[in-house]
Symmetry: C2
Subunit: 435 residues, 2 copies
Amino acid sequence: MTSTVPNLCTAPVGPVLKLEAKLLERQADIETWFRRQWLETPAPFYASVDLRNAGFKLAPVDTNLFPAGFNNLNPDFDPLCIHALQSAIERICPTAAGILVVPENHTRNRFYLESLAALVDLIAKAGFHVRIGSTMPDLEQDQIIDDLESGRTLRLEPLRRSGDEVYVGEGEDRFSPCAVVLNNDLSGGRPAILEAIRQPVTPPAILGWSNRLKSDHFGLYQQVAAEFAELIGIDSWLVDPLFRNCGKINFMKREGEECLVSNVEMLLEDITAKYSVYGIEEEPFVIVKAEAGTYGMGVMTVKSTDDVLSLNRNARKKMASAKDGREVSGAIIQEGVYTFETWNDPADSAEPVIYMIDHYVVGGFYRVHDGRGRNENLNAPGARFQMLAFSESCTRPDPSRDPDAQPNKFYAYGVVARLALLAAAREIARAHQGD
Amino acid sequence: MTSTVPNLCTAPVGPVLKLEAKLLERQADIETWFRRQWLETPAPFYASVDLRNAGFKLAPVDTNLFPAGFNNLNPDFDPLCIHALQSAIERICPTAAGILVVPENHTRNRFYLESLAALVDLIAKAGFHVRIGSTMPDLEQDQIIDDLESGRTLRLEPLRRSGDEVYVGEGEDRFSPCAVVLNNDLSGGRPAILEAIRQPVTPPAILGWSNRLKSDHFGLYQQVAAEFAELIGIDSWLVDPLFRNCGKINFMKREGEECLVSNVEMLLEDITAKYSVYGIEEEPFVIVKAEAGTYGMGVMTVKSTDDVLSLNRNARKKMASAKDGREVSGAIIQEGVYTFETWNDPADSAEPVIYMIDHYVVGGFYRVHDGRGRNENLNAPGARFQMLAFSESCTRPDPSRDPDAQPNKFYAYGVVARLALLAAAREIARAHQGD
């Protein structure tokens, strides 16, 4: 591998090695269990999962059903993405070749555009005709973006609709796809043009942030983690962050503050109890974040109820704003999971981000933040990121080596990330039932 | 990538670049066509295909349904094999985890044992319990092989049967697999212990060399190549070696010699006609080989009918012997395809061998032979081989580069190898109908 191998160290604290050893030992049973789960509940088209590895605990803290960051994956593993895309798309379009990607509308974010270009490139290499249909309201004609650092070129075409079909291009150049791959998390709402079309939309628009709640996901994750913990005989807390939620919060008007304070208090007590069972001497903390949303806005680290009560006006304003200017109306209070993974010297905090396509783990990277501590959200704007492609995929454990050896740690990451993927699959199944 | 990148040169002779350019240009249509084909006719569990790249022509010359050589694949691509194995096995064993591999019986071939160990290792890493059930007649108890160069350990267990079920181990250790993966080409006949068992055997025993004929395979390949050639608008000869066959040949007794001579003559005429159409100035040649068999025995390069008539006693004896001592009873006379790929200076002949699991290309290597010319069979014993793992998979073409750039050449290899895979899939489907 030509890529830099990240110099990451995990504090070898008690139970985590036990957990990793357990996952390795039970690998065949775990994989059989997953196969059964995917038969019952097909995996989402793709997803990325943010993990936190606290040494004593390894848990997902965010599951993104419309992932960006494909440009940060190790290009040596493109063949894995290509296989997985073929497998995912051949289920939707067994005999057709046209895929339309509907991207985010923020065309000035170079990082996102690089990710979009990488995704489109992978779909083309998997053997599909692929074009980009944009829902940007002011896009009248094709927009060519040819100044990306990667040298890739993007053509954004206005998404059009005729009857129950979406397409791009006109006349001889008209392109009616077999399926629409959504790469827009719909924070700004579900676009009418995608409603009730004959082409399948994957992942379904109903899973966009305009409908989805983090607490729904983590409620389903709790069930998945409990079933999995029973399978391998562990305390599900070792892979599951505790959480509570408040339905109506208005930070600016200080509405719902009592709910928040009492839930923070109860959650801190629950974490303290767990820490005492496992002899963990760290200070418990919780993360308060918007129920709907992404891009790390409206995320706050809280160590006591005082932290909530003493929020100043600026902090309130920050909590109240989420992506696309939506007001935060619900909040999830999630157990904070320390990250004990660091990069560099002096140490910067690092957290693994795992990518999956269909039910396959296809790679990942470390998100490194040199301005944030090990108990803070690292998916934050305004500070330098360092993306480190994994030099190994997460599918090749080596039982002959130490459980904390890199391929084995990556296997553990792949297992926990797929538990979150399974929770997302159940979210989709439930949404379809309610549809 | 850490592996050596082979220093291979392909003579850039006329049509081949055109063919590679055509394959790249029509990639999405080709992949769509393949998807349709796999829906109609599921791919074999695995296969390896020997290709010959003559510069003006790229064609398969041998398709092995029970491949060895897994130890020669680039370990960087293990994740690809793991994905593909998961995809292949989850169709056979969606809810179970036990796989039994039935290997060849020649336990003194270290190369084969390394391949077997690599295959078993991959199946385990794909998340299955895997054990080896041997049909060696004199194996009374487990045989441990722990002196392999790779450091891997193999346990060969006697294959047992109870009612319609095969298993290994006894008592608490009894292991009843969900499926049997056959890695024995059955040159010595179909073992009775595998007949009419309830567990699926894949690839099916009926595709072993005790039943299979090379001319059946290449007959089906001819149809596949014709359909494919029509799809992309080329002369199917560019991917298809001409062939003829003789049903009854006994080299020692000189029976069937007339059939051989007349077919060699007609085939040489056909090749000469094609060479003249394409302005190729090489001397046409044909390969005569056993209808059933592998391991490169009984393979002869023939440039004129005199070559057949003047065979001396030793050469006859060699042609008459195939693996496991079976007498050659039929022969296929196949258009010889020059290999223009060379390695080293002075140049040794090289030919690509492509591996597939399910319908996925998972890698390959170059077979290099320093004692053989570019018009000879390179799968020959008695001389040094050099296996060169591909440093790139065959699934990642790059249309922005020259058609002969390595990833693009590998894509072309992957397409032609899959054409042979499809012919093998049709062989299996036909065998099942006749079963």
